[in-house]
């Protein structure tokens, strides 16, 4: 009945055990030397631009096992609600740390989106648009990189750590392509130069000469992109310290929780400090068509610990005012529990959350009906969601970029900013 999903999106018991192991040993796998923090002064970062961290729940986390409890209903599931530090707001018992952060975040309980399967949903919830045969929409990360990024920065402006989605920069072009980091926060292969710096420099100068000879008579776009990409690959050599987080991790392990996802969240904070405007951090995999409750019991606690730690850390460093933290996946999960104790894909009503960068804390926006089948009040579409994100980041969501000859607004035409979420 539910749409087919590619096998790799699905959970297997073996993958779950592997996932659990990775979580348990996440802190032990790194082998980088102890290093001091490379972060610049906070004031300087703040003087610069706004940032966004996207916490990506791959596969689609269940709203019923996180922010939209239905105690006593047939759709409610196994877990109990707990009170939070906001009077009258309850969340799932799997989230004790986030329960104490509810005054910092705004939850949307009325998401209604339009792509029910993983590939489409991943595309939709990264771009705000449904996949199209003719327009390649850019991911939110590429848009933030464009409007808050720094040209010629040593670090890429759009970094994805262990996450999904391949829409990339779309029609914005390769300048805004994401830079992918492995699930332990490790740099991609061949990131580090093995050549002595004086040799590298003279070789670089010669190569620059070769490039200039070719482009002298050709105002050639691909050649320009090729050169720019080469330059950023080269500059990355000087910025690798930002990814060396072993020493710092030792100090923050408790704050973020001892998990691979926690480590990735700390890396995201550190990259924000280093000036990177957009970092996406992924956690896999929530696609719980079977054994929904054991899956969430395994996945939610380390995730929520890391998320709460990230909010604390950002706030203590004075970064939360300029850093938007977005929590979402590509889909929600069905109210009905299937005969394998699973929940299938559902997009008529599900939940997401926002924090920081002027988002009002302690707020729950929208409401689902008694069993969570449908939005009872204030539906939020993917377009509204992205319009609100851009607005919070100080970027007008109606700005248009050209996809060929077609103007495309950042958030889809007709999308409404959810003003009451923003201070």
């Amino acid at each position: 009945m539910h749409p087919q999903c590619p096998t790799h999106e699905h959970l297997s018991r073996r993958a779950m055990i592997k996932g659990t192991l990775a979580t348990a040993s996440g802190g032990l796998v790194m082998n980088w030397g102890g290093l001091t923090s490379a972060a610049g002064p906070v004031e300087e970062v703040k003087k610069r631009k706004k940032h966004c961290i996207l916490l990506w729940m791959n596969g689609g986390a269940s709203q019923f096992e996180t922010f939209d409890m239905k105690p006593g209903r047939s759709t409610g599931g196994l877990f109990r609600p707990i009170s939070t530090n906001v009077a009258g707001t309850q969340v799932c018992e799997l989230m004790p740390k986030m329960a104490q952060k509810m005054d910092r975040i705004a939850v949307i309980r009325s998401m209604r989106t339009s792509e029910i399967d993983h590939p489409g949903g991943i595309y939709l919830m990264h771009t705000g648009y449904r996949p199209s045969a003719t327009v390649r929409f850019p991911e939110v990360g590429a848009i933030v990189a464009k409007y808050h990024g720094t040209e010629q920065s040593d670090l890429p402006n759009f970094i994805k750590v262990s996450t999904q989605g391949d829409a990339g920069a779309g029609f914005l072009g390769p300048t805004y392509q994401p830079f992918g980091i492995g699930h332990r926060g490790d740099l991609p292969q061949f990131s580090t130069s093995q050549i002595k710096s004086d040799v590298e420099l003279r070789r670089h100068n010669l190569r620059s000469f070769v490039e200039s000879e070719f482009t002298r008579e050709r105002a050639n776009d691909p050649a320009r992109m090729h050169r720019e990409a080469y330059e950023s690959a080269r500059r990355l050599q000087g910025a690798q310290q930002a990814f060396k987080i072993d020493a710092e991790w030792e100090k923050h392990r408790e704050l973020y929780g001892d998990s691979a996802f926690g480590r990735r969240c700390m890396l995201a904070r550190r990259l924000v400090e280093s000036g990177v405007p957009f970092i996406e951090v992924g956690q896999s995999s929530y696609d719980s068509h079977a054994d929904n409750f054991s899956w969430h019991k395994g996945l939610v606690p380390p995730m929520e610990h890391a998320w709460a730690g990230l909010l604390t850390d950002l706030e203590q460093r004075g970064l939360l005012d300029d850093t938007l933290v977005v929590w979402t996946g590509e889909i929600g999960r069905t109210p009905r529990i299937n005969n394998r104790a699973g929940r299938d894909h559902y997009v008529r009503n599900w939940s997401t959350a926002l924090a920081g960068c002027g988002v009002k804390g302690g707020l729950v926006y929208g409401e689902s009906d008694a069993d969570g089948f449908d939005v009872k009040r204030d539906p939020v579409t993917e377009g509204d969601f992205f319009a609100t994100i851009y607005q919070a980041l100080g970027v007008d969501p109606t700005i248009e970029n050209m996809a060929g000859s077609r103007p495309v607004p950042l958030a889809p035409f007709g999308a409404k900013v959810v003003e009451s979420l923003l201070g």
């Binding site: 920069a169 392509q177 008579e217 050639n220 776009d221 691909p222 090729h226 990409a229 080469y230």
Partner: protein, 544 residues
């Protein structure tokens, strides 16, 4: 007849703007002349200044890459540039079209189109038999409609024959197969109509499922083994219908839907003979060739797709192969030939399609006409800088494929020559000495999905810090060896460097710069660095 009228009407309309051009090819002129006439008329109309004609060196590298999938070596370069024969370009084209590398290169292009770098189905990464078959079609210049038909008919099995592999990737996914068939062979994008009626296009959701019905009864049957490899055949069940339940957004649990029969896209429904009363559904038995159904929908589809009663097939092929050589399709993107996406040169596209069909889909003839045109032989100098110039006023710039890069690196550094000279049996990988997995990962998908180059950071991490150095051989017979041990002047050596790596002589400033660079340190290190700088540069990375 109907199509002919359309063409006449289109010509009559444009005559007002263009003058008195008639796009029809006369007996005296070849297709190449019609191409140049039409393209140049559009420059006049659009007030466009074209780039100058490509010089010999520019043409040489371009046509080698486009026809043979690799750059020429030093000797071939020097010989061509020195040749005084005014017909040398046409002769080179003829020679390359008969080179075995032509078949290999075309097979690479079409294999990538048919399967992409990451095909969805199982075992489709083991398709060397399909690739061998495809290569044979080009080596023997089998007409396009025949081999395209063979892919869609999928007779035999994946090992002894090859073609069934195309459907294997869409096992149990008739909708995906439908999208691929219409996009590849008809140049039409139906994927929107899969879920909803298309707001701007003539085709509706029922049209999509009418096309899907032709392939919905297909199944993949394992018919044996060849070593470790499974042999697959495509079986067709005699019955079974797609049940259509309306737009995806209105789907409800428990909906049954209406059966949809096979219907050609914007064409006729297919009348099927009724099944006998005592009919029992066939179950395919493993290790036995699946029996042919009493009535094959699939074969009806093949006949229609490759036949001349459908308005898309010839145009889609003419436009696709045009874009392979000229960069942009006359309809662009090439697989979106919808009424809302207008061609830039409508009369020319009509002629190309008619002539291609009229020459019995002889691709070699068609390609020969394309690359002999003045239009193909424009320089990439000057111009707007666009990757794919819209009016074909400059040559397009295209990134080399992963295969072309590996082959070209091996050729220009003399790795291949040294390998030959050593007398040792070379490794079989076509990416040698580089690791194919890396080359494919970093260079396998250079486009963003709409045909624009997207040079990411990652390919430069590989070029700057990866194992590219292994291909810069210093063995006897290699370029580096010739530079180090040769007794020529340093100017002559720099010329050799450029003729080897970029298939052109060095300029004055290049001679100076490189000679000084090499003189500034240990020659072996310096030559090696110079080779690296050039083979990682834009001039090498692109076909321009």
């Amino acid at each position: 007849m109907k199509r002919y009228e359309t063409i006449l009407r289109v010509c009559a309309t444009t005559a007002i703007f263009v003058g008195s051009f008639n796009a029809e090819a006369t007996a005296a002129e070849g297709l190449r002349d019609v191409i140049d006439r039409e393209v140049e008329a559009a420059w006049q109309r659009e007030k466009i200044t074209p780039s100058p004609p490509a010089d010999d060196a520019e043409f040489l590298r371009r046509v080698y890459l486009d026809l043979a999938g690799a750059v020429p070596d030093y000797d071939e370069t020097v010989a061509f540039l020195a040749d005084k024969d005014p017909a040398k370009r046409a002769k080179l084209i003829d020679r390359l079209l008969d080179d075995p590398r032509y078949a290999q290169h075309q097979a690479d292009v079409w294999d990538l189109l048919l399967f992409t770098r990451s095909p969805p189905g199982y075992d489709t990464d083991k398709r060397e038999h399909f690739q061998t078959w495809l290569r044979k079609q080009f080596a023997e210049n089998v007409p396009y409609d025949q081999w395209a038909g063979a892919i869609l008919r999928a007779d035999g099995n994946t090992v002894d024959d090859g073609p069934p592999m195309f459907y294997v990737q869409y096992k149990s996914k008739p909708e995906d197969a439908t999208e691929a068939i219409t996009q590849i062979f008809l140049g039409v994008q139906l994927q929107c109509a899969r879920c909803h009626d298309h707001p701007y296009e003539p085709w509706k959701q029922v049209d999509f499922y009418g096309m899907a019905a032709f392939v919905s009864r297909l199944d993949v049957v394992t018919v044996g083994k060849a070593g470790q490899m499974n042999k697959y055949a495509i079986g067709e069940r005699p019955s079974g219908d797609i049940l259509f339940t309306g737009p995806a957004k209105d789907q409800q649990p428990g909906m049954k839907g209406e059966p949809i029969g096979p219907k050609f896209l914007l064409g006729d429904a297919v009348k099927e003979p009724p099944l006998p009363k005592d009919f029992k559904e066939v179950k395919f038995t493993p290790n036995q060739p699946p029996p042919a159904p009493p009535f094959s929908r699939k074969n009806e589809l093949v006949t229609w797709v490759t036949g001349d009663s459908n308005p898309y097939f010839a145009r889609a092929a003419a436009n696709r192969v045009w874009a392979q050589y000229l960069g942009r399709g006359i309809v662009h993107p090439i697989d979106n030939m919808s009424p809302s996406n207008k061609p830039t040169h409508p009369e020319l596209l009509d002629v190309l399609a008619r002539e291609l069909a009229g020459h019995d889909y002889d691709l070699k003839w068609y390609i020969r006409e394309l690359v002999n045109s003045r239009t193909y032989q424009r320089s990439s100098r000057g111009g707007s800088g666009a990757e794919l110039p819209q009016w074909f006023e400059s040559a397009r710039t295209r990134p080399l494929s992963a295969e072309e890069l590996a082959e070209s690196w091996r050729t220009v550094t003399g790795y291949a020559a040294a390998e030959k000279l050593s007398g040792k049996k070379p490794e079989t990988s076509r990416f040698r000495p580089l690791e194919g997995g890396y080359v494919l990962r970093f260079f396998g998908k250079p486009y963003n999905g709409v045909g624009d180059f997207q040079g990411g950071l990652h390919e430069h991490l590989y070029l700057n810090n990866g194992p590219l150095g292994t291909v810069i051989s210093s063995a006897k017979g290699s370029l580096q060896d010739a530079l180090l041990t040769g007794s020529e002047s340093s100017d002559a050596k720099v010329d050799r460097l450029y003729l080897s790596l970029l298939n052109r002589p060095a300029t004055e400033s290049e001679r100076e710069k490189i000679a000084a660079y090499v003189a500034g340190g240990k020659p072996d290190e310096r030559w090696r660095e110079a080779i690296w700088a050039i083979i990682t540069s834009s001039e090498f990375r692109f076909n321009h």
